[in-house]
């Protein structure tokens, strides 16, 4: 049991609980009988090839989709049926490619994370201002607070949307490919922020494609393929040569980072041996 349960309302543990969930987009079954749990204070990486059902799974947890079979529970609530405001206070989702059609300032975008805590007209109270300042500071955005989001670089934008999710003050943070399209330094920074959020007591679940970043940063990995969970556990147990070949169809060399002890897998590019 996590020590964070001593603070705030007594959430069920694990806070995210998916049982035998199934979801199909028309004829195409995206998630088929998936069971998945995540706890507060834990950083879980969701891995798998394209089309494995990772994004569908986090959308089920966020209540944006409903399962056609099985159950999804977020802090004990059915997130698809519960009022959106309640769900938004429990769970924040950072989408892969956030929309930026209007030139809002960084501070305005981060303040939008407070909507579920505010009244109809979104008048900011002291709590809201404090949460926004905290999120801006945590994501190193204070100097950019007055800038228009449409004028930012890709890495800066990611930080803005991460800050918005932090300002939301959720218990569960869902990240859909937080490192996509970022350079190495920004990828590492994104993973560090996610890790820090988990150390701060949040339940963080991230869809990830980079196996080595996932192995280095996550407490636990869940591997999916064709709508099913095929493995879960500590990174070293999930990322075996055999499993990576099974799940991704790529032969790899598996080793260990000499500096940190983290599991490392490298594709055997050039050798076509299977």
């Amino acid at each position: 049991m996590s020590p964070h349960r001593l603070h705030g309302p007594p959430w069920p543990d694990p806070i995210v609980e998916v049982r035998a969930a199934r979801h199909a987009y028309g004829q195409r079954v995206a998630v088929d009988g998936v069971s998945f749990t995540a706890r507060e204070g834990e950083f879980v990486g969701l891995l798998g090839p394209n089309g494995a059902g990772k994004s569908t799974l986090i959308r089920l947890v966020a209540g944006l989709l409903s399962p056609s079979a099985g159950t999804v529970r977020l802090a004990g609530f059915d997130p698809h049926a519960a009022p959106r405001r309640l769900v938004a206070r429990l769970c924040a989702l950072v989408p892969q490619e956030p929309r930026l059609d209007w030139p809002f300032t960084v501070r305005e975008v981060v303040m939008m994370g407070r909507s579920a805590h505010q009244g109809l007209l979104g008048v900011a109270g002291r709590d809201d201002l404090g949460a926004v300042e905290g999120a801006l500071t945590a994501c190193d955005l204070v100097h950019l607070a007055g800038r228009r989001v449409t004028a930012l670089s890709g890495g800066e934008r990611r930080r803005v949307f991460f800050a918005r999710a932090l300002a939301q003050e959720p218990r569960v943070l869902l990240l859909d490919e937080p490192t996509a399209f970022l350079d190495l330094a920004h990828q590492v920074a994104a993973m560090e922020m996610a890790r820090l959020a988990a150390r701060g007591g949040l339940c963080v679940v991230a869809v990830l494609h980079d196996l080595n970043l996932a192995a280095a940063a996550c407490d636990r990995l869940v591997a999916m393929r064709a709508g099913r969970v095929v493995a879960e556990g500590p990174p070293g147990e999930v990322l075996t040569e055999e499993r990576v070949r099974d799940v991704w169809g790529v032969p790899v060399w598996r080793g260990e980072n000499g500096a940190t002890g983290a599991t490392v897998v490298l594709p055997n590019v050039g050798s076509h041996a299977r």
Binding site: L64, P98, R99, E108, M112, L121
Partner: protein, 348 residues
């Protein structure tokens, strides 16, 4: 809302009100018959009759219509996440015109059988109700057909609106042929988008409907900010997307329907005004929506004064819809090309 934002709100709304006062002043004092404000206030005829009987009601009508159209345009742009959205471009005005036309024709048909009942149906309130119903139905139709694979595609919705507009124009032309000559003349005058002279009761009823619907949009303005981010993000930030969007649809359609009932098809106000006001106050709809509504009122009063005065030597005046189309058509193309260029730059 921070203190900074509150002062910006006060400034934007103050400027908007000031613009309305200036436009109404110009509109009331200028005309073929010069009048003196002092004489009119002192009750000297004909100055008093011209000011209070003709020019002020006409300016008030233009203000209400501009207020409604600019607010509706702002809201539709937020929903479509595209600055090209506008009640006229999206076919909402066309739907309202069709609704009103159908009621008028039904009234003409009814009066052939039962005179008083027909006259009652042909009076302002039922025609306005028809216009509002037409606006609501066409909004749902255009946004419904603009969904492809369950997702709203802004470009598709815009195209659907433009095609729907052309379709409605054809239907109205056909219907006009069926109408008796006196009804056809009334219809023609109404549809061309002229700010005319409505009875005080009609003007008051229209104003109430516009204030109610724009007020609803104002209450939803913080939600509109979130809807500009996309459905999924708005939902994950705590917005009940379906319900909110239906409310916005309904309020924007009602405002458009009331505007069309009062003045016919006046296009592009909801395109030009929100775009310029956005440059002034930024994209936050809590500022943008009320400021756009006020500047929209000032804009249409000014455009109507221009229509009234520009052709004075010829002894004639075009409907204000012609003036806004003259300004709005090129503006739409400029926005379209700029947007396409930005999109091009963003993807290459």
């Amino acid at each position: 809302m921070t203190r900074l934002r509150r002062s910006r709100l006060t400034l934007a709304l103050g400027l908007g009100l000031l613009a309305i006062v200036a436009a109404v002043g110009v509109s009331c004092l200028l005309g073929p018959q010069p009048i003196s404000l002092r004489a009119a206030l002192d009750g000297v005829e004909p100055d008093r009759a011209i000011l209070f009987g003709l020019r002020l009601p006409r300016a008030a009508l233009a203000a209400v219509v501009g207020f409604a159209l600019a607010a509706a345009g702002t809201a539709l742009q937020a929903l479509l996440r595209n600055p090209l959205a506008e009640p006229f471009v999206l076919g909402v005005s066309g739907g309202a015109a069709l609704g009103g036309t159908l009621v008028m024709l039904a009234a003409a048909g009814l009066s052939a059988v039962a005179g008083p009942a027909g006259a009652l149906l042909g009076s302002a309130p039922p025609v306005a109700a028809g216009a509002v119903a037409g606006a609501v139905l066409s909004t749902f139709l255009v946004f419904g057909l603009g969904r492809i694979g369950g997702r709203l595609v802004p470009e598709a919705a815009l195209l659907v609106g433009i095609v729907f507009n052309a379709f409605v124009a054809g239907v109205i032309t056909l219907l006009k042929m069926l109408a008796p000559p006196d009804q056809a003349a009334r219809l023609l005058y109404w549809l061309m988008g002229a700010i005319g002279y409505e009875s005080p009761a009609t003007l008051a009823a229209g104003t109430v409907l516009v204030l109610l619907s724009v007020g609803t949009l104002g209450l939803l303005s913080a939600r509109l900010n979130l809807l500009t981010l996309g459905d999924e993000e708005a939902a994950s930030l705590g917005v009940d997307v379906k319900r909110t969007r239906a409310l916005v649809f309904f309020a924007a359609s009602a405002a458009t329907g009331a505007a069309v009932a009062l003045a016919g098809m006046v296009g592009f106000v909801g395109l030009i005004v929100p775009h310029l006001v956005r440059r002034l106050v930024g994209p936050d709809h809590r500022l943008l929506l009320p400021a756009s509504a006020l500047f929209g009122a000032a804009f249409l009063v000014g455009a109507d004064a221009l229509a009234r005065l520009a052709f004075l030597p010829l002894g004639t005046e075009p409907p204000v819809g012609a003036v806004t189309a003259f300004l709005g058509g090129p503006f739409f193309l400029w926005l379209l090309r700029r947007q396409a260029r930005e999109h091009d730059e963003a993807t290459t």
